[in-house]
C-alpha cells in the first residue's frame, strides 16, 4: 500500500474537499449522491482558477502567447485522458459536453453513416436514459430495431446466457453500461466486448459510473467506443470524453458543424479536419479540460484500484446494516460497485430522501434515469446511496441509523 493510499484511508483526503466541511440542516454533511455527481478537490478548483487568472484564451487559432498556453494545456489534457482511459493515442480522444453527448455523437455519426433500415442495435435493460434515448431517436429516423439484454432479477445481473443469441440476431452495434448507476452492477465489459468482436459487432461502453471509480482501460476492455463524464470523476461539469478507435473515427462524418472542425469553408460546402478535431465544433471546454486533467492526476495519485475497493467495502458495510431493517428490498449484489439501492413497500423514496436530508445526508430517490429498469423490477422508484473515496465507515453507519429511524417514523 502506497503512502498516498494509507493516508487517504485515514480520512486525511477529506481535507482536500472544501465542500465536505459544512453542516447541512444542523448536521455534518454526509454526501452520498456521488453517482449523480462527485465533489471537487481543491486541486481541481485551483487548477481552473489558475488557468482563468493567467492563461485563459481561446485555443488553436491564436498566434499570441496566451492562446499558445491555452492550446498546450488543452492538448495536454487530451494526452492525459488518453492515458487515463487506455487509448492508443491522443487522437482517439474527443472532448464532449459529457457522456450523453458522447453517446449522441456515436449514434448520429457512426450510426447515421453505417446503420441501415432493419439493422439491429443491442442495449440492456439496465441502461441509463442517456444510452437509450439517443438510440430511440436514431431507430425512429433509420427504422432500426432495438434489442435488450435482460437482467436476471433483483440481483441486477445481466443474463449472460442470453447475450450470444441476441448478438447473433443480426446486431450491428452493442452499447451497454460498464457499471449500473441504479444497481451498482459491474458488467463484465471485456467479456461482452470479446463476444461482440468475434462476430464483427461494434461496441460502445458507457463508463460514466466506472471511469472515476475503478481502473478503466479501453484497449484492455477491447471496446470500439467508450464514454465518460468529467463531473463524475472529480472534474468540472461541461466536459466529457469519448474514446473511439482511430480507424472508426477516421471513417465517421462530423457530428456538429462549426468553427475549429473545418479545413476549408465555402458558401455552400466545406471540408473537415481529421479526428479528433473533426468532432469538436466551436470553442471547446478548455478551462474544463484543465480541471479534468487535475482530477485525473488526483485520482491516479490515490489509485483507482484502491478507490474501487474502498467504495465497494462501504457499500457492503451499508448493505449489511440495511439488510436487518424489516420490509427492505435491497437491489443489486454485494459484488457490485459502491452503490446501494433499496426500496420499502410502505415508504416512498422521496419521503426517505427528505428525511435523510434533514439529518444532513444527501442521497437520491426516484427512477435514477432508468425507467425501463424500474418497470422491469416492478418499482416506481428506489432510494440510492452512492459512495466515493472521501466517504467513511462512520458515514455508512449514519446512513443505516437514519434509515432505521425513518422506518420507525413511518411504520412505527
Amino acid at each position: 500500500m502506497s503512502a498516498a493510499s494509507s493516508s487517504w484511508q485515514r480520512g486525511v483526503v477529506r481535507a482536500d474537499f472544501p465542500i465536505l466541511d459544512q453542516a447541512v440542516n444542523g448536521h455534518p454533511l454526509v454526501y452520498l449522491d456521488n453517482a449523480a455527481t462527485s465533489q471537487k478537490p481543491r486541486a481541481v478548483i485551483e487548477a481552473m482558477q489558475r488557468f482563468y487568472e493567467r492563461d485563459n484564451s481561446n485555443v488553436h487559432r491564436g498566434i499570441h502567447t496566451l492562446s499558445h498556453r491555452a492550446t498546450v494545456a488543452y492538448e495536454g489534457a487530451r494526452e492525459r485522458a488518453a492515458e487515463f482511459l487506455g487509448a492508443a493515442d491522443a487522437s482517439e480522444i474527443i472532448f464532449t459536453r459529457g457522456t450523453t453527448e458522447a453517446i449522441n455523437l456515436v449514434a448520429n455519426s457512426w450510426g447515421g453513416a453505417f446503420l441501415r433500415e432493419g439493422d439491429r442495435v443491442l442495449l440492456t435493460e439496465m441502461e441509463h436514459h442517456s444510452n437509450l434515448v439517443p438510440w430511440h431517436l436514431l431507430a425512429e429516423r433509420l427504422k432500426l430495431e432495438l434489442l435488450h439484454v435482460p437482467i436476471t432479477g433483483d440481483d441486477g445481473l445481466l443474463d449472460l446466457e442470453r447475450v450470444d443469441g441476441l448478438l447473433d440476431a443480426g446486431v450491428k452495434l452493442f452499447a451497454f453500461t460498464h457499471v449500473s448507476n441504479t444497481l451498482g452492477t459491474v458488467n463484465p465489459a471485456a467479456e461482452l466486448c470479446r463476444r461482440a468482436r468475434e462476430r464483427g459487432i461494434i461496441t460502445l461502453v458507457d463508463a460514466a459510473q466506472s471511469a472515476g471509480h475503478q481502473p478503466v482501460n479501453a484497449r484492455e476492455i477491447g471496446c470500439d467506443f467508450l464514454a465518460a463524464s468529467g463531473h463524475k470523476l472529480c472534474g468540472p461539469t461541461g466536459i466529457g470524453i469519448l474514446y473511439g478507435r482511430r480507424d472508426l473515427l477516421d471513417a465517421m462524418p462530423p457530428f456538429l458543424g462549426g468553427g475549429e472542425m473545418i479545413l476549408k469553408v465555402g458558401l455552400s460546402a466545406s471540408t473537415f479536419k481529421k479526428a479528433p478535431q473533426r468532432f469538436e465544433a466551436g470553442t471547446p471546454p478548455f478551462a474544463e479540460a484543465v480541471g479534468l486533467r487535475a482530477a485525473m492526476d488526483y485520482l491516479d495519485d490515490i489509485g483507482r484500484e484502491a478507490i474501487f475497493e474502498h467504495d465497494r467495502e462501504l457499500a457492503r458495510h451499508a448493505r449489511a446494516g440495511l439488510a436487518d431493517l424489516p420490509g427492505i428490498r435491497l437491489l443489486g449484489t454485494p459484488d457490485g460497485a459502491g452503490i446501494v439501492s433499496f426500496h420499502f413497500d410502505e415508504i416512498h423514496a422521496h419521503d426517505i430522501v427528505t428525511f435523510a436530508d434533514q439529518a444532513g445526508i444527501a442521497m437520491r430517490g426516484g427512477h435514477h434515469c432508468t425507467q425501463p429498469l424500474m418497470t422491469r423490477l416492478g418499482l416506481d422508484s428506489t432510494t440510492r446511496a452512492s459512495f466515493y473515496f472521501y466517504n467513511t465507515r462512520e458515514e455508512a453507519d449514519r446512513l443505516v441509523e437514519t434509515m432505521a429511524r425513518i422506518h420507525k417514523f413511518f411504520t412505527g
Partner: protein
C-alpha cells in the same frame, strides 16, 4: 427534526396510510392523470361532474406520503364543490404550500400542508393530484404533469 414533524403532521401520515376515496370511480364522467416525471409519482383522478358540480371524486395511483395524502385530502374537500369553488380552493392550497400561510379557514385539515413550504422540492408532490383534478373538472385535458407551469 422540527421541520420534519411540521412536514409530516399526523393528519398527513394518517391519509398516507389510509387514503380516502382511493380506487376507481365507475360512474366517473371525467378522468385525468397526473405524472411527476422526475420521481415517477402518478395518480389518476376520477370525477362525477353534474351541472358543473363535483358529485363524486376518487383517485388511485402511487406516490410519496406528501402527494398521496394531498390527493386523499383533496378528494374529501372537493366533494360537492362547483368547478369555480374547486379552482378557488386550489389557489388557497397553492398559496399555503408555497408560503406556509393560510388565507382562509376553507382549507380545514389541508392546513396541515403548511410545512411543505419549508421544502421547495416537495411542493410539486403536494399539488400533483390537484393539477389532474382541475384538468378533469375543466375538461382541458386528460394529462397533467409537474412540468407544466402552475
Amino acid at each position: 427534526m422540527d421541520h420534519l414533524s411540521e412536514l409530516y403532521q399526523a393528519v398527513i401520515l394518517d391519509h398516507n396510510r389510509r387514503p380516502r376515496n382511493f380506487g376507481k370511480l365507475p360512474e366517473a364522467n371525467r378522468v385525468a392523470t397526473g405524472d411527476n416525471p422526475s420521481c415517477g409519482d402518478h395518480f389518476t383522478v376520477y370525477l362525477r361532474l353534474t351541472d358543473d358540480r363535483i358529485e363524486k371524486v376518487a383517485f388511485d395511483g402511487a406516490g410519496c406520503a406528501i402527494s398521496k395524502a394531498a390527493a386523499s385530502l383533496m378528494t374529501v374537500s372537493l366533494m360537492g364543490k362547483s368547478v369555480a369553488e374547486a379552482e378557488n380552493l386550489f389557489r388557497e392550497f397553492h398559496h399555503l404550500v408555497t408560503t406556509g400561510e393560510a388565507d382562509e379557514e376553507n382549507l380545514s385539515d389541508m392546513a396541515a400542508f403548511a410545512g411543505v413550504s419549508q421544502f421547495p422540492a416537495r411542493i410539486k408532490c403536494a399539488t400533483l393530484a390537484w393539477h389532474a383534478a382541475l384538468n378533469a373538472a375543466r375538461g382541458t385535458g386528460d394529462k397533467a404533469t409537474t412540468e407544466e407551469p402552475v
